[in-house]
């Protein structure tokens, strides 16, 4: 029992050591020099990056959640399999391919990049919204209906709170993927921190590489953690208990 715990702790320590060694090595070899030397440029790239992500993910959230709600209403249920399968299929298409296709249709520039990122973010949110709403216990909905709640009341008081965990997980996935894909936007003229990474690759310049890649990595990891925190904050406590009970009973 103790040996197992030691192994887990050792693994954690080794990992943290590797991260520390990496940063120490990168710093002592002046690999973050670009950030220090050109702070204005760094801020501008970061701004573009965040703009790409927030606009495309924002529109994706605003369109895919309502669409997911609509498609799970009885009237449109018959289209659900079509949407779900399209979403599944769409997610197998690589991010780079979507950017390249967007460029083929819309040319080069930030607009094409935003459209590509939007399409790429749409599907995970849509898929999770539908899955979340579908997973609401039918007995709960039946009880709500039997007590005289209108369908709108059932949606806002029962279904959406119950699906919140799943929807937020979809948003998290979409935004994190979006941050990474936005780093490729440089290729179709979209700018962002990818500019330094690709410059680094082309020039074999480690300081460009690290000054671009580490901030993008940190951005993705931090946003992921923030959204996990948000999930804890926003998902009703009763539902977390319900999820835990369901997992424990497996």
């Amino acid at each position: 029992m103790n040996a197992k715990k030691t192994l887990a702790t050792t693994t954690k320590i080794i990992l943290w050591l590797l991260v520390i060694v990496f940063f120490w090595w990168a710093l002592s070899n002046h690999m973050f020099s670009k950030i220090v030397e050109q702070p204005a440029q760094f801020i501008s790239l970061l701004e573009t990056h965040l703009k790409l992500v927030s606009i495309s993910a924002g529109i994706a959230i605003l369109t895919s959640i309502p669409l997911g709600i609509l498609i799970t209403r009885p009237k449109f249920r018959k289209f659900e399999w079509l949407i779900v399968n399209t979403a599944n299929l769409g997610q197998t298409i690589p991010s780079l391919a979507i950017l390249a296709l967007a460029m083929g249709f819309l040319g080069i520039g930030i607009k094409a990049a935003i459209v590509a990122l939007y399409i790429y973010s749409l599907l995970p949110i849509l898929q999770n919204t539908i899955a979340g709403l579908d997973s609401v216990n039918p007995a709960t909905k039946d009880a709500a209906k039997g007590m005289g709640l209108t369908s709108t009341q059932i949606l806002f008081r029962v279904e959406l709170p119950s699906a919140a965990y799943s929807i937020l997980a979809g948003v998290r996935t979409a935004v994190v993927l979006n941050i990474g894909t936005a780093a490729l936007a440089y290729l179709i003229g979209g700018g962002g921190l990818g500019v330094w990474i690709f410059t680094g690759i082309q020039l074999f310049d480690n300081s460009f590489l690290i000054s671009g890649a580490v901030p993008v990595t940190l951005l993705a990891v931090i946003v992921d953690l923030l959204f996990r925190g948000l999930q804890l904050l926003l998902v009703p406590k009763g539902l977390r208990l319900a999820r835990k009970a369901a997992i424990d009973s497996v």
Binding site: A139, T140, A143, M147, G148, L149, T150, R157, G238, L239
Partner: protein, 325 residues
């Protein structure tokens, strides 16, 4: 009052789920819809609050046809309890219970008072449970909440779809007793679906025995046990119906039947039984104690006589078998 008038339900094609049902549930009456699974009892129940549509005929609740009323309004005036309780996992116990009053726009104070009253009714401390969530409660507690949620806005009529069916026998028994006591106090008009004959006998003022969408017999438990109308009813009630009918009688009924006299003798060291105990319990006491007789006492511990197996047998001859002829 709930009136079913020539009610039928036909599914696509010609599958008759409900076949020309006529019955009335009087004010304050507790009626059980009893039958094997798939007989249409749940469908019939769900037609009352229009969760299932009515193909033919009419159902009138408190004198109003469900066709005239908006289903949302209708449902808010009918309590509804289901087997898997259907509590909202995202809401606290108080929010769950007070959902209908909330929709009806009750103020905070009125809701709180109502919640406290209802929780007391089912023997749960309101302050201990107010802020808790359904998944923190046991199955029995969840089902109690399911019941009081349906009573929240004090609807005159309640529909209950096998509400205690998922509970284990001991807890089920206890909740049945609790609910009967509550019903004594609140006198709701109740339609209650069950597939369990023992539950039906214990709980119901009248039982509607249903088979393939038709009513086989609509009578009091005693009548159903003693005068089964047809083959199906007597089979459903079972070979041991005489034994079952004993839970319908109390020791007091036997005292009345034989005009046993009250006296104030000193109690010897024999076993005692209260006169409000059911005969079913009495007979098992006699068998278990290996005693020839048990002293019957009333609420004030006055001795009313002694109970023997012989006496019970005589009583059954008069009451149960006698009626069969």
């Amino acid at each position: 009052m709930i009136e079913f008038q020539n009610v039928s339900k036909v599914y696509q094609g010609d599958v008759k789920a409900i076949d020309d049902i006529n019955m009335t549930v009087n004010d304050g009456e507790f009626v059980i819809l009893l039958g094997p699974s798939g007989c249409g009892k749940t469908t019939l129940l769900r037609m009352v609050n229009v969760l299932e549509s009515i193909t033919e005929g009419d159902i009138r609740v408190q004198g109003k046809s469900s066709k005239e009323l908006n289903p949302i309004e209708l449902r808010r005036n009918i309590g509804y309890v289901i087997q898997s309780n259907g509590l909202f996992p995202n809401m606290t116990i108080e929010d769950n219970t007070m959902i209908v009053p909330d929709l009806l726009g009750w103020d905070r104070k009125k809701k709180r008072n109502r919640f406290n009253y209802l929780m007391d009714l089912v023997g749960l401390n309101p302050d201990d449970y107010r802020k808790r969530f359904p998944h923190e409660l046991s199955g029995g507690q969840q089902q109690r909440i399911g019941v009081i949620r349906a009573m929240a806005s004090d609807p005159p009529v309640m529909l209950m779809d096998e509400p205690f069916g998922a509970l284990d026998p001991i807890i089920r028994h206890r909740i049945q007793d609790e609910f009967l006591a509550i019903q004594q106090e609140v006198k709701k008009t109740i339609l209650f679906v069950s597939h369990d004959i023992d539950e039906a006998i214990r709980m119901g003022d009248r039982i509607a025995l249903i088979r393939e969408g038709k009513i086989m017999q609509y009578d009091t438990p005693t009548e159903i046990l003693t005068h089964p109308k047809n083959e199906f009813v007597s089979e459903f009630v079972g070979q041991d119906r005489v034994l079952k009918s004993m839970s319908l009688y109390s020791v007091q009924d036997l005292v009345d039947a034989f005009n046993l006299e009250s006296s104030k003798q000193e109690v010897a060291d024999t076993k005692m039984i209260h006169s409000d105990t059911s005969l079913r319990v009495a007979i098992s006491m006699l068998l278990n104690q290996e005693a020839d007789q048990i002293v019957i006492v009333d609420q004030q511990d006055n001795q009313l006589g002694s109970l023997t197996l012989n006496l019970i047998e005589k009583f059954l001859h008069r009451e149960v078998k006698g009626k069969e002829r």
